[in-house]
């Protein structure tokens, strides 16, 4: 059976709760602020929200159900997405189906996390059974060690250089200029600075790694009819994919689930990658941006370095990528980082950007990538969104 289209569904109210480096507030505060802001942006009350999809790493032991009590809500549909970097697109997909099925009429999708040194240490030291038993004892808790291996392997196999990854980091930093939510947006980054940065886990250096922070990202999913009735600029979902644990037999990841499903994505959308006005991809590390250029069909496998040598990823460039600056420039607000691609895509194609807009942007691709439980992220997802002003 073919994938059913996402007809009749609107995505509205791109919302960002301003990121801060450290926060003494609990994750619940960030969820609640996002709920406040996203409903205010749409001109509705929280009582009209009858579906709630949440993702957070620092809300434990609470999940979505506890938030209904926390904030006096009685939704008829809830979802909990413990899938980090993939949770934004996954929330979008589930919310869209709930609206189509009539199980909910307005779904608030929120990714939110607090951040302080204790919360981050707790997160990386207790992330998964495999990571705890087979990675952390080697001095490499958290994702840096495993993504250093993926990066080194990619460089050796395909001839990519640090300067190629620097082109990604510097382009995204350029895109962050003008975005008041980008914690590093005011700090210009050129290739010399990128190359001269201190090593973290070689070949990864400082500007290859995201800076943990607190923050929230959110959007609403409802019927197109409802969005029009509320007078809201909105986006429709032209296609969407999701895959977990793809290519698990490959010794080191050189591709991920997008490669398995991109034909379905573009068949659903009725357009190819060349039609995208901007690309908002999960960017925990530059190598994953490079990998997605390949796996999502912008160039062939192994040719991202060549692509980057001829195509700028800046807003003014041939293919604007991570137009907010991405997590590499905004900071990684935990699970909100998994919502950033969807929220920024929605901003670009509905003309609600925090910073600069790709002129006339109408079609955007947003992706997610999450959960390095051993030596690679397992969850991949993507969606093609089209703006309807």
């Amino acid at each position: 059976m073919p994938v059913q289209p996402f007809d009749g569904v609107a995505v509205v109210a791109p919302t960002t709760v301003r990121y801060v480096r450290h926060s003494d507030k609990p994750a619940h505060w960030w969820v609640g602020r996002a709920l406040h802001d996203v409903t205010a942006a749409a001109g509705i009350t929280k009582q009209e929200v009858d579906g709630l999809a949440l993702s957070s790493f620092t809300m434990g032991p609470d999940t979505t159900i506890a938030m209904t009590e926390h904030f006096d809500m009685a939704p008829r549909w809830i979802e909990w997405l413990p899938t980090g970097g993939a949770s934004g697109v996954m929330a979008l997909r589930r919310a869209a189906r709930a609206v189509q099925a009539g199980d909910a009429s307005i779904v608030a999708c929120i990714g939110a996390d607090t951040a302080n040194p204790a919360s981050f240490a707790e997160l990386v030291s207790n992330f998964s059974h495999f990571s705890d038993s087979a990675v952390r004892p080697y001095g490499a808790p958290g994702p840096n060690g495993m993504f250093a291996l993926i990066t080194a392997h990619y460089m050796a196999r395909f001839g990519a250089t640090r300067a190629d990854f620097g082109a990604i980091a510097t382009a995204q930093r350029s895109n962050a200029a003008g975005n008041p939510n980008a914690l590093l947006g005011g700090k210009a980054l050129n290739l010399e600075q990128y190359l001269a940065a201190p090593a973290i886990v070689e070949p990864l250096h400082l500007f290859d790694c995201v800076m943990p922070c607190a923050g929230a990202e959110a959007f609403l999913v409802m019927s197109e009819e409802r969005a029009r009735g509320l007078g809201l600029p909105h986006a429709v979902i032209r296609g969407s994919i999701e895959r977990h644990n793809a290519y698990f037999d490959e010794p080191v990841a050189v591709r991920a689930g997008w490669a398995m499903d991109r034909d379905s994505l573009y068949a659903q959308a009725g357009v190819g990658p060349e039609a995208m006005d901007c690309l908002e991809v999960y960017d925990d590390y530059p190598v994953i941006v490079a990998m997605q250029l390949e796996d999502l069909g912008f160039c062939a496998k192994g040719e991202a370095a060549q692509f980057l040598r001829h195509n700028s990823l800046t807003i003014e460039g041939a293919l604007p990528v991570n137009t907010s600056g991405g997590q590499l420039s905004c900071g990684q607000a935990g699970a909100a980082g998994g919502f950033l691609p969807v929220v920024e895509a929605l901003r670009q194609i509905t003309g609600q950007t925090l910073g600069r807009r790709v002129p006339g942007a109408r079609l955007a691709l947003a992706s997610g990538y999450g959960m390095v439980t051993y030596d690679r992220c397992l969850a991949t997802a993507a969606a093609v969104l089209e703006g309807r002003a």
């Binding site: 001095g139 291996l149 990066t151 080194a152 973290i200 886990v201 070949p203």
Partner: protein, 111 residues
């Protein structure tokens, strides 16, 4: 030299990291099996900064992905002098806290 891994008595699959059931056939028939520790160092990386405070005095450390001849991949410490891509032999040694950890060494050394 052999190493001990978790194997399935029903289908013969080997697995790492250890799991609660066989990853392939889901049988509850797991036990220790001897395998050759021989494989290939696919790639390595140098840890300069660790989020694990206890490692501060040991840095930099070299870690790598070893692909065993039996098809599994294992994250291990990498001995000095090894080159990415070369054949290696895995061994277990007591780490800092006494637990057994994986180390990749030169195959020719016969250790």
């Amino acid at each position: 030299m052999t190493i001990t891994l978790q194997g399935c008595a029903q289908c013969g699959a080997r697995q790492y990291p250890p799991r609660a059931l066989c990853r392939a056939c889901l049988a509850d028939a797991l036990g220790p099996v001897e395998e050759t520790g021989e494989g290939r160092l696919i790639v390595s990386a140098i840890v300069h900064r660790s989020l694990e405070p206890g490692f501060a005095g040991d840095l930099p450390l070299r870690i790598g992905t070893v692909s065993l001849d039996c098809g599994l991949r294992i994250i291990a410490f990498v001995d000095a002098g090894l080159v990415d891509g070369q054949s290696v032999c895995l061994r277990q040694e007591a780490g800092r806290d006494g637990t057994a950890l994986w180390y990749a060494g030169a195959l020719e050394a016969g250790v």
